[in-house]
């Protein structure tokens, strides 16, 4: 286990920013920390890294207790903070060299590492630029480069794709996969479902400072009682037929949105043909009919009673 955080409690006056938060990270994986804005993702990272004092709990990294003076552990960690944190008065190259220099004293090694990471994040053309001349997406890449130039084994990325255009976002996500392939363990926080689904080996779903569930995407989806979701729209009749639909076998509940019915089934087989029978029996004409597997959003909805998406 690379990281083991147990029952972390972090209080801000009345607010429990972390409420018995638990997290385990295995070597070589990409772990996603998924939760809505303000649920405590950044707080969790800062506590794990001893940037914040916390009230209760225990944190071990590489099998050792993490403290503000655990320099041996810190040497192997890279952090890409949520906010871009660079010197406005240093160029791209100088910024990276500065932060790399906080880990690596040897100038020659550093020169090589800095060059490598500039290539890695695709900023070679911009290495003499000052940060204020960079676009938002390029600034984020610089922010990443500053956190990973010293080749850490364990990398924390705190929402590195927020407010980034699609092109830079894909570039960043691909880069993270590459880092992982090269052997780094990665903790990735996000409030984007798609990113978590596509990138992460395992996901921790968080809400209000609590870690709710952990598992692979498949495991998480299997938690929900919903097995299948069918969306149907009808030409007729005008009146609500939700109650009638509920008589179909295995229907859990029926919702209505934009004139369409969202039908959740608890069992995964024969649902569509049962629904088709129901349509025929009731002389209905459908305009839309398709089946969906449950998403992480459904998992989140079922766990917290609210949508993850804003």
């Amino acid at each position: 286990m690379v990281i083991k955080a147990e029952n972390i409690v972090k209080k801000y006056k009345e607010l429990n920013a972390l409420d018995h938060f638990n997290m385990e990270v295995k070597e070589g994986e990409i772990l996603g920390l998924l939760g809505p804005n303000g649920c405590g993702k950044t707080t969790a990272i800062n506590c794990i890294l001893s940037l914040l004092k916390f009230d209760e709990g225990d944190i071990q990294i590489f099998g050792q207790k993490m403290t503000p003076t655990s320099y041996n552990i810190k040497k192997q960690i890279g952090l890409v903070p949520q906010e871009v944190a660079v010197f406005e008065n240093l160029t791209v190259e100088e910024n990276i060299d500065y932060f790399c220099g906080l880990y690596i004293e040897d100038k020659n090694i550093r020169r090589e590492y800095v060059k490598e990471v500039i290539d890695f994040v695709g900023l070679t053309e911009y290495k003499k630029f000052y940060p204020k001349k960079l676009s938002g997406g390029l600034k984020r890449r610089l922010n990443i480069a500053c956190g990973i130039s010293h080749k850490p084994k364990l990398i924390f990325l705190d929402e590195p794709t927020v407010a980034v255009d699609a092109q830079s976002r894909n570039f960043i996500l691909e880069g993270i996969k590459r880092l992982n392939k090269e052997g780094s363990t990665i903790i990735y926080t996000t409030h984007y479902l798609e990113e978590a689904e596509m990138l992460c080996d395992r996901i921790i779903i968080m809400d209000r400072g609590k870690s709710l569930v952990t598992g692979t995407v498949e495991e998480l989806k299997s938690i929900t009682s919903t097995r299948e979701k069918i969306i149907a729209g009808f030409e007729n009749p005008e009146e609500d037929i939700s109650d009638k639909i509920k008589s179909i076998p295995h229907v859990l509940d029926v919702g209505k949105a934009h004139g369409e019915y969202i039908i959740n089934f608890e069992n995964g087989t024969n649902n569509l043909s049962n629904l088709l029978d129901f349509i025929k029996d009731n002389d209905l004409t459908y305009t839309k009919l398709y089946s969906q597997l449950p998403s992480l959003n459904d998992v989140f909805l079922e766990l917290t009673g609210k949508e993850l998406r804003e």
Binding site: L51, N72, L90, G101, L102
Partner: protein, 375 residues
């Protein structure tokens, strides 16, 4: 030494602020030194307006007034310090001499016998002290059986004055250069506060950004070590700035450098710089707002320079103002620069006060930085 190296590198991005101040400063100094030069040669002939408060009313004081009246215009005044200061400040008179009741006995005992208020803004007012001293020295020389031979004093001084005009005596020239250095170094004090707070403040606003601090705190470089390098950078920068301005003064008055006690000015300037570095440390622990920093830089430098006697001589400032000025090292710095005869004790008191303030600023700053880290 990455942190130190990049601290210095960031410093170079602010070189225009430093060079800008330096350019204006040297320009003004050159202008002012040209001014004093023309006055120096002319000033023996210059007639001054001298206010006199004669509480003694003896023959000796009459002799002195008579002597001074030869070359100057004498105005009788009441012994009212505030009024006197106002008159000098308003340039009604160039200097005021207060002759105390026990004037004669003081002269006989070779004690400080008169109190002189003069307008430091005017070089020529320096001659008053010379004239008074000259009169007293000769008076004492003619003293026989407890009596002064004032008639002889008068005769001797008549010749003496002529001789002085011819060779523009070395004493007067010396005090002219000394006064120039005093004023120049006083202004260094003002500029040191301005630039230190502004430039170091702007640089530290970057280093003290919470996110950058966090990056440094999670790195494997000991936080204390990073901080030590930052402070080393500040000291390097501070000493460099102070040295530039000191060298400027030495270059401007290079020829006369032998006439002044340079070491006094140097020690004073570096001790003062250290105290202001500590003050900057305090400010940097209070705010990282660039707006606040440039405000503090202007207000503190102008404010303390004014109340401590950089722009207006300390003698002309009210007691309340000076009492307030004592709460900032500038006051002690200016006092040492303006001392005429330096006693080692006076000087060490002034230096110790500046160091004490430095220590207080440092400790207060540390207190605030601790408080911030608690969160």
């Amino acid at each position: 030494m990455t942190v130190y190296r990049y601290f210095i590198k960031i410093t170079t991005r602010y070189k225009w602020i430093i060079l800008g101040y330096a350019a204006i400063f040297f320009l003004l100094s050159v202008i002012s030194s040209i001014n004093t030069k023309t006055k120096e040669t002319a000033f023996m002939e210059e007639s001054l307006n001298i206010g006199i408060v004669d509480d003694s009313k003896g023959s000796l004081s009459d002799g002195l007034i008579d002597y001074l009246g030869k070359n100057n215009t004498i105005v009788e005044m009441e012994n009212d310090i505030d009024y006197i200061k106002d008159q000098i400040f308003l340039e009604v008179v160039d200097a005021v001499i207060i002759i105390p009741q026990d004037f004669q006995s003081r002269v006989e005992n070779k004690e400080e016998s008169v109190e002189i208020f003069r307008d430091d803004r005017k070089m020529e007012s320096l001659q008053i002290e010379n004239q008074v001293n000259k009169f007293l020295v000769f008076s004492n020389a003619t003293r026989r059986d407890g009596k002064f031979d004032l008639a002889r004093v008068k005769d001797v001084l008549k010749e003496k004055v002529n001789v002085d005009v011819l060779k523009t005596g070395p004493t007067s020239k010396n005090s002219g250069t000394d006064a120039w250095f005093g004023i120049y170094f006083n202004f260094i004090g003002y500029i040191v506060i301005t630039i230190y707070i502004l430039v170091i403040g702007l640089i530290m606003a970057e280093f003290n950004d919470k996110n950058i601090r966090d990056r440094m705190r999670i790195s494997s470089k000991k936080f204390l070590k990073s901080n030590a390098e930052i402070y080393l950078g500040q000291i390097t920068l501070g000493m460099l700035i102070t040295t530039i301005f000191i060298l400027g003064g030495i270059i401007l008055k290079g020829k006369h450098i032998g006439e002044v006690d340079l070491s006094r000015y140097l020690i004073n300037a570096y001790v003062f710089s250290f105290a202001i570095l500590c003050f900057t440390f305090l400010i940097n622990n209070l705010t990282t707002s660039r707006f606040a920093i440039s405000g503090v830089s202007t207000v503190v430098s102008l404010g303390t320079a004014f109340v401590s006697g950089v722009f207006v001589p300390q003698e002309l400032l009210g007691e309340k103002v000076l009492a307030m000025a004592k709460f900032f090292p500038m006051y002690y710095y200016v006092r040492i620069n303006n001392m005429k005869a330096v006693s080692a004790m006076d000087m060490s008191y002034g230096l110790r006060m500046q160091l004490l303030f430095g220590a207080i600023f440092l400790l207060t700053g540390l207190g605030f930085s601790r408080a911030k880290q608690k969160i």
